[in-house]
Symmetry: C2
Subunit: 371 residues, 2 copies
Amino acid sequence: MSELARLETPALLVDRVKLEANWRRLSQHIASLGCTLRLHVKTAKSLELTRSLHGSAAAPIAVSTLKEAEAFAAGGYRDILYAVAIAPKKLERAAALARSGVRLTVVLDSLELARAVAGSALPVLIEIDSDGHRAGVRPDDARLVAIAAEIARGGATVAGVMTHAGASYDCRGIEAIRSMARRERDAVVHAAKRLREAGHAAPVVSVGSTPTATFIDDLSGVTEVRAGVFVFQDLVMAGLEVCATDDIALSVLASVIGHQRDKGWAITDAGWMALSRDRGTARQPLDQGYGMVCDAAGRPLEDLIVSETNQEHGIVAHRSGDPRRLPELPVGTLLRILPNHACATAAQFERYHVLEPGGQIERTWERVSGW
Amino acid sequence: MSELARLETPALLVDRVKLEANWRRLSQHIASLGCTLRLHVKTAKSLELTRSLHGSAAAPIAVSTLKEAEAFAAGGYRDILYAVAIAPKKLERAAALARSGVRLTVVLDSLELARAVAGSALPVLIEIDSDGHRAGVRPDDARLVAIAAEIARGGATVAGVMTHAGASYDCRGIEAIRSMARRERDAVVHAAKRLREAGHAAPVVSVGSTPTATFIDDLSGVTEVRAGVFVFQDLVMAGLEVCATDDIALSVLASVIGHQRDKGWAITDAGWMALSRDRGTARQPLDQGYGMVCDAAGRPLEDLIVSETNQEHGIVAHRSGDPRRLPELPVGTLLRILPNHACATAAQFERYHVLEPGGQIERTWERVSGW
């Protein structure tokens, strides 16, 4: 614990043993289904962390911003999918990255953007809507083939199709997630078939979300799976049975700074600025507040959660609200808070402190932020 | 608009005319009540922005982190209140700042911390709980005098008392806020009186929140008011009648990247990573989703809100949900999103782009982040 005592609080910790176990588990699962795992680096947003998993920069990655693409390209990555439909004003920046030798694949789902990429020679994936929750053309939509024709006419490459079944976050139970995963797969496989019938090679068939990637049992017709959250896991994933609470590799180190003992509150210096405002478990059967509270060794303090936050204050209370059930937790006590949503909590910090197997902290891994 | 078209999206904009008008309005109000305004820089977290309002670094400020204190001290500020109870492990860093010539005042509300500051010679404010929502000792609590005695015994200075009526955010109507403001004032004035009766000079009597500062009509016995959000204002403040929507100086510039026209959705590149996960208006009579949508000139697009967000996607829809009421908004259209909570949205960015009265953008103001 003396290692943790040296850190300023709040601080972001990543447990390297858990991180690597999470990475291995999903990598092996996807490999066993004959597919490539394209790590989505939007969660960790760290070149050093990502290279620690890949061992080299030869692996394919997905990014959520061009800033990530540029940072990972500078770190040697050469196969990068920018997995958000590209705003027209970003095309020049994307083209510059492509000219530097990166295979940068872009995504779109409209005729307007298909016209906008004309002349860019970028590989393009058409986004498919497999679950109704966000972007994409439906697999049977007549526009799919029209968009592909427009891309080809402009000189860009119809590289294939991609989808993200984000609705898997709202599934209840493993079977529901698996069923969503099959729907996700079937949507893109069908869309790719339509493109091939229309004369496009469309070699790439890309799916992905951490829940669907975890429970899919057959990826026939799919070439790659994108996922990001799984490297850390989080309380939303635990609520979905995607992981156990003990698999969560990310936590926020906080100090107790006061109490309201008659209310059963310990107050910490990790407010929403550290934990984020994400309340992803609020719509799950077990609402974890702003996070589950562990001791400094990472052992959950039974039924303590962060019940409320201000900017730089977190209120720790027993889940029951019973003031008598708050343990002592003197001022200065170090706690570790497990996050609702790893992407959102990690985004509040500039770097990770890497917790080694023996509890030492020997290095930090920097994060990319901004756009 | 050509100025905005040159920015990458999402980008954070601050309208300098509105910023300065907000600053003037509250400064004059507090001055008219015979009090000092101690700007809380936790909202804007920008030395350049703050100096543009103050004209010099001679003004008093409040900070929410030692990182802010250090950044503002480096920029010349010398009267800094660190307005969060200080974790024991932060005392050495605070003392170092004080040794550099800054009058750094710290806050605490426990005997444990009163003992921890012994030997530091720091000025200390005792935090008073005026509204039951967070930290502080109640004004009548016997511990108040015991804490002051402990501070004095250790050689630190009992500089006075402070409180923050954060519960004002949950008030309905101006009269309710004004009543909360009086309660906030009365709590610290009473606490200061008790400290003086016990032999402490306790010269500082500090209150503050943007709602209470806006509507308080008598600050007798109070020496300073802390507020931060008012410089930008936001939709939560508009919902509280603290400001008009048109006063909001902060917005996020976004690009339309696609549509689901049958659902009445325009999809933008400003998701929760740009807007934050703050849903502060969800508990107000008018829920603004993840933000109110304006055109690029800042004019509200009647009844369009950001109804849902993913990490890098925002879904813009008509408040009614009626798909026919979404205007055209072609791909590439620039929109400006007004935030629920200025502190949370601004924290997602590294800098402000400063919108000048003529619509030009000639400079950026950097933000401080981290701890």
